[in-house]
């Protein structure tokens, strides 16, 4: 059995992009809803485009990958939204893995941040 590979953590440049899955419940027609942006376990999981293609991110869904669209967000724009950070957090089986941290706990500010994230996002793979 091969040893597990520990990928080095790298700095993600502002000019790069991250990909996120967006489940079909967050769509009405082609329109994405702000509810897709929500913290889970302290951050918002994404894949860095240096090591992943949108299709890779979709195929990592635990169930029914085709029920997910893929959304692209520019890293520099994320960092310009109220103190959000984007950090490379590679996993053994996913070198591209990264997290958006510092999503506000205060729900009033979180509501604003989610609107801002929606504005900078772009759907690169639709549902199905």
């Amino acid at each position: 059995m091969a040893d597990e590979v520990a990928w080095p953590t790298e700095e993600i440049p502002d000019a790069d992009f991250v990909f996120m899955r967006a489940h079909k419940v967050f769509f009405k027609g082609d329109e994405l809803a702000p509810g897709v942006f929500r913290p889970q376990d302290g951050g918002m999981s994404a894949d860095w485009n240096k090591y992943a293609k949108p299709e890779d991110t979709r195929n990592r869904a635990r169930k029914n990958p085709l029920d997910n669209a893929i959304v692209e967000l520019p890293v520099g724009h994320i960092r310009n939204i109220g103190g959000l950070t984007v950090e490379h957090t590679p996993e053994t089986d996913n070198r591209a893995h990264c997290e958006v941290f510092n999503l506000p706990e205060h729900s009033e500010e979180l509501t604003r941040v989610r609107v801002m994230l929606l504005r900078i996002s772009r759907v690169v793979i639709g549902i199905g």
């Binding site: 009405k28 329109e31 809803a33 702000p34 869904a61 009033e108 979180l110 604003r112």
Partner: protein
Amino acid sequence: MSIEALCEWATEVREIREWPEASVALAPWGEAVAERSQDKLDLDAPERTIAELNREIDRARTVFDSQSDWDHDGGTAYSAATFDRAAAFLRNCLRQMWMFYGVVASVPRIGPGPNGSIDIHWKMPAWELLINVPSETSELATFYGDDYGTQRVRGSFDLKDFSVGILLWLMR
């Protein structure tokens, strides 16, 4: 010249005339507003909006599932009570806009928010408003809206106390 002399007001004499009679009979303010509104409004619009709102509520209700992990990715469960509170608030909000201001508001989109909350989202060409209805009744709802420019509004409110003035201001 002394300061006192400078400050001394000159005495003026003016002829006092009677205020002229209004040549146009003015209707009370409420009637005038109603007449003006009827000139511009499509009077079937409220009915169509109610029908559209009911369709959106029905559509959204099918999205919300009481099972946890509804999106297979760790999604939080949504309670029927939270959904019903959001729907009731929205119906009341649109009703007030029409009844008190003669304005037919666009029907927003209802969707899942974080931590079992419900989002009510207007995304219009000239403005955007997101209202988040929390799952806990003890928490305040929150909102953020802007005109994609410098005019912004944000805050928290009790669902029973929402001022539709925020919507009117964004729709102006």
